[in-house]
């Protein structure tokens, strides 16, 4: 495989278009990033019971995430060790074993090969143990979020989350009993563009008033001031800010600009008044008002490299499909222990942004991909805010919301991974 001149392709303040368009780069990413880095595979509450499973992916690799009879998690490649058939086609379910439909090899949900029909045909020396399913060697759960890595040297998941961990904790701790339930279905979208276009955008406080103008205008036209993200009209003059963390994670913190109540700030929701009234009847006004704060988005874009984005009140997973094709899956979440009315409202709030906001983001991503086809315009610029840094830019953890330090930050992690063949040079 060709090696690339990463120092040339990834510079401070600009990156080369080929990172978005070159199939060879994409192929390397599918191991050096989606492989070696802790990659989000799913949530424990999707497979709560012994022998539950769900299909997922590690980059392009089809994976079955299982919970065995003892409750342990396994990430098994969905690939028969005989001739390669995907042994499981159901999206999710409960199964002690997976039987390959082609010639009937049977595997336990720990990956162990437990049956080969007419095995005498393989002779006496045949070793079943050599044909157990291949697996993602390291799987770890952080408060229900399950990650996997092919790397033996990646630090622990806690270390990988690093500075982003506090914000993830805060998102989880909105639940009265400190646990999210991810069993409420998903909204799925796809676009013709590279997966990193999502990352360029994920903590971008610069684009909102332009790319999302249709949503901003609708909100201003139909609703009183103070709904939606009106502070984004001039984000650098608002109290909101972005943070960058080691290993590529970024965080755009809207809450300082959102006023005292997230519920009052959220765009009106189907059933909003009905369920607020029902809750007040049951619990009284004060408790109802406090509980409703758990329904809307949490005022954060928390981006955990490479594929886990916490946005609004949900979990967005970035799934690369090809150098120019990406799927975005938005898993809705319930708060364990929350009032039922709050969890109902969370569903309707979850539908808001994919329908009203992400549609325009995805349009921008596709048009980036189209524009990046021009070989003569080589560079994608991400220098905004760099002038003020005097080279110290990225020591600063808190930056202005329109500052492209967030983009430079993930590219710094990305470059380490691509250069080292899949390891972080940092601690």
């Amino acid at each position: 495989m060709t090696e690339y001149a990463w120092d040339h392709l990834i510079q401070e303040g600009r990156v080369h278009r080929s990172l978005y368009t070159d199939e060879g780069v994409f192929a390397l990413e599918m191991t050096r990033v989606f492989g070696h880095v802790w990659t989000y595979l799913g949530h424990e509450t999707e497979i709560p019971n012994p022998n539950d499973f769900k299909l997922t992916k590690l980059g392009l690799r089809p994976v079955i995430l299982t919970r065995d009879a003892k409750g342990e998690l396994h990430a098994l490649f969905n690939r028969c060790m005989h001739r390669g058939v995907t042994i499981c086609a159901e999206h999710a379910g409960n199964a002690k074993r997976f039987v390959c439909p082609y010639h009937g090899w049977a595997y336990g949900n720990t990956g162990k090969l437990i049956g080969v029909p007419h095995s005498e045909g393989y002779g006496e020396a045949f070793e079943m143990g050599a044909f157990d399913l291949k697996r993602v060697p390291r799987v770890a759960s952080y408060r229900g979020f399950v990650f996997g890595t092919l790397s033996e040297t990646m630090p622990s998941i806690e270390d990988h989350l690093g500075g982003a961990r506090a914000a993830l904790d805060a998102f989880i701790d909105r639940a009265p009993v400190g646990q999210l339930i991810v069993r409420a279905g998903a909204y799925r979208g796809a676009f013709n563009g590279n997966w990193k276009l999502v990352w360029d955008n994920a903590a971008d406080g610069y684009h909102v008033q332009f790319a999302h103008k249709s949503l901003v205008d609708m909100t201003n036209k139909r609703y009183a001031q103070g709904r939606g993200a009106d502070y984004m009209a001039s984000p650098d003059n608002s109290p909101i800010y972005a943070e960058v963390f080691e290993r590529g994670h970024t965080f755009l913190h809207h809450r300082p600009g959102m006023g005292p109540s997230l519920w009052e700030r959220a765009r009106p929701t189907p059933g909003g008044e009905a369920y607020a009234a029902q809750l007040a009847d049951r619990r009284g006004d004060a408790e109802a008002r406090a509980a409703l704060e758990g329904a809307p988005g949490f005022g954060m874009n928390l981006n955990i490299f490479p594929n886990l984005l916490i946005i609004a009140n949900q979990i967005q997973v970035v799934e690369p499909l090809a150098v120019n094709r990406t799927q975005l899956t938005w898993y809705a979440t319930h708060l364990a222990g929350a009032e039922p009315e709050v969890n109902v409202l969370r569903m309707r709030i979850a539908e808001d942004f994919p329908n009203f906001g992400e549609v325009d983001d995805m349009e921008m991503f596709e048009r980036c991909q189209e524009g990046l086809a021009v070989p003569e315009a080589e560079w994608v610029d991400c220098s905004r805010g760099l002038y003020a840094a005097n080279g110290a830019d990225d020591a600063a953890r808190k930056v202005r919301p329109t500052d492209e330090a967030t983009m430079r930050n993930y590219f710094r992690a990305y470059k380490m991974l691509m250069q080292s063949g899949g390891a972080y040079a940092c601690s």
Partner: protein
């Protein structure tokens, strides 16, 4: 002064989307599994077909406000992401009440809705219509194919089973519920303009 049906009413409180409504909406999926009565009156059938064709034409001609005003004041416009699941506790592709439906139309008609430029050309094809008469109205099942084309951008085809709950009012027929179950509800979608 534009004609009444091209103006959206101002947003009103969402007081009717409650447990009782969710129960009714889920009921819709149950009757859709049953056989319709042998012969709904021919005149009713013609009326309903005419209404569905008119609704489709408003969408195909881009008359989104007039289309939205075919819905009742307490309406639901719904595309399940999992038709087997209770939408009260599961996310949908969309589950709009009156207010959010009008939000949606307002955004689509904005000159800054980037995914609407160039404007998608839509064409709805409707067939396999079955009718269950109800008091002052009808429940209707149909199969629909929506072709969405954006010049120089893409063509997408959405194939779905659609359920309508329609009610006759003094102002004409109104849609209380429109449910669109895409055959690929569990796959990644190009976001539809309006189904």
């Amino acid at each position: 002064m534009p004609a009444r049906d091209t103006v959206l009413a101002p947003p009103s409180a969402s007081t009717y989307v409650n447990d009782a409504l969710y129960a009714r909406v889920m009921e819709e999926l149950r009757w859709a599994a049953e056989a319709p009565p042998a012969n709904a009156a021919a005149t009713l059938r013609r009326t309903i077909e005419g209404f569905l064709h008119y609704e489709a034409r408003l969408l195909d001609q881009g008359q989104f406000e007039a289309w939205a005003n075919l819905f009742a004041p307490e309406c639901i416009y719904w595309a399940p992401a999992n038709p087997a699941a209770d939408v009260r506790n599961n996310v949908a592709i969309f589950f709009d009440d009156r207010r959010r439906l009008d939000d949606r139309v307002t955004r689509l008609l904005s000159s800054y809705a980037h995914n609407q430029a160039p404007r998608p050309r839509l064409r709805h094809l409707i067939s396999n219509i079955e009718i269950w008469p109800i008091e002052n109205g009808a429940r209707v099942l149909s199969s629909q194919i929506v072709h969405q084309h954006r010049s120089g951008r893409h063509s997408v085809v959405y194939v779905s089973g659609v359920g309508h709950t329609l009610r006759k009012t003094d102002e004409g027929w109104r849609i209380e519920l429109k449910r669109i179950t895409l055959v690929n509800f569990d796959e990644a979608l190009e976001p539809p303009t309006l189904l």
